[in-house]
């Protein structure tokens, strides 16, 4: 595995969508390659940031109550 393979598979590594073997290969590469690790951590932080920011919205209580009454 070289840096460009690593970069190409980084999204799928981040999303845990590689095979076990590929996950391991990538992990080994990251352990020995600070620039790729840095990039990986950046992508992971960004993914987390999007999740945290978008998760702040919760369904209004009134909607929940209304649906409960309609549905049950």
């Amino acid at each position: 595995m070289n840096c460009s393979d690593c970069k190409e598979k980084l999204d799928r590594y981040l999303d845990r969508e590689l095979s076990n073997t590929e996950m391991l290969e990538l992990q080994l590469h990251l352990e020995g390659c600070p620039p790729c690790t840095d990039n990986y951590e950046f992508q992971a932080s960004l993914k987390r940031l999007v999740k945290v920011c978008c998760e702040q919205d919760k369904a209004p209580d009134a909607l929940r109550e209304k649906l409960r009454q309609i549905l049950t």
Partner: protein, 192 residues
């Protein structure tokens, strides 16, 4: 007539996914009232078609699919335009920041306001927005996201990849406008 217990159990389980559906609807419609209408309609449809839900499968994905299909039904007129997605080309925020000497690159993320991140998600074309919601916000696997969107796994994956690049471009533009990063003139010029 009293409700049958299975229907109540189904509704109770479906309602555990309400926040996910509401958030999704809010991002898709970008309007709280429309989001509530869309969610309500989705739940009513889910109840009507509950026989088509297979117990033990991913109910969250099933509900989300109903909701996004309703959303697309309403937007049918603009669907074609939405399908032709803007392509920002390869845009990797990390590389961009590194090239511009923003060190450490991750500091830039700390300076982005939550509202700007949400705004950047909402700026994505709907086909990209929904895949980011499923993949990044709700943590769907590629397989579940693909099934929810009714596309092959490869399509979901490449859409997510392009959506992330578009999102990064838009966050970068915001960071430039707000002075979080500066496009400086000190970029390294390759020797020879």
């Amino acid at each position: 007539m009293a409700e049958s217990p299975p229907q109540t159990a189904f509704a109770e389980e479906a309602l555990t996914h309400l926040d996910t559906l509401y958030r999704g609807a809010l991002r898709l419609t970008r309007d709280p009232d429309s989001a509530q209408d869309l969610v309500q309609e989705a739940y009513l449809r889910a109840l009507r078609y509950q026989h088509s839900y297979q117990p033990g499968t991913n109910m969250k994905a099933w509900l989300f699919a109903i909701m996004r299909n309703l959303f697309w039904d309403r937007f049918k007129g603009s669907r074609k335009e939405d399908v032709s997605l803007d392509d920002v080309g390869e845009f990797v925020l990390y590389d961009k920041l590194r090239d511009e000497g923003a060190k450490p690159e991750a500091d830039v993320l700390d300076k982005l306001a939550a509202s700007e991140v949400v705004a950047a998600v909402e700026k994505l074309p709907p086909l990209h927005r929904e895949v980011v919601l499923l993949g990044d916000v709700e943590g769907f696997s590629y397989r579940d996201a693909a099934q929810t969107l009714g596309v092959p796994i490869r399509t979901a994956m490449s859409r997510l990849h392009r959506a992330r690049q578009q999102l990064q471009k838009s966050l970068y533009d915001y960071a430039l406008e707000s002075g979080i990063v500066r496009a400086n003139g000190t970029k390294e010029v390759p020797n020879e």
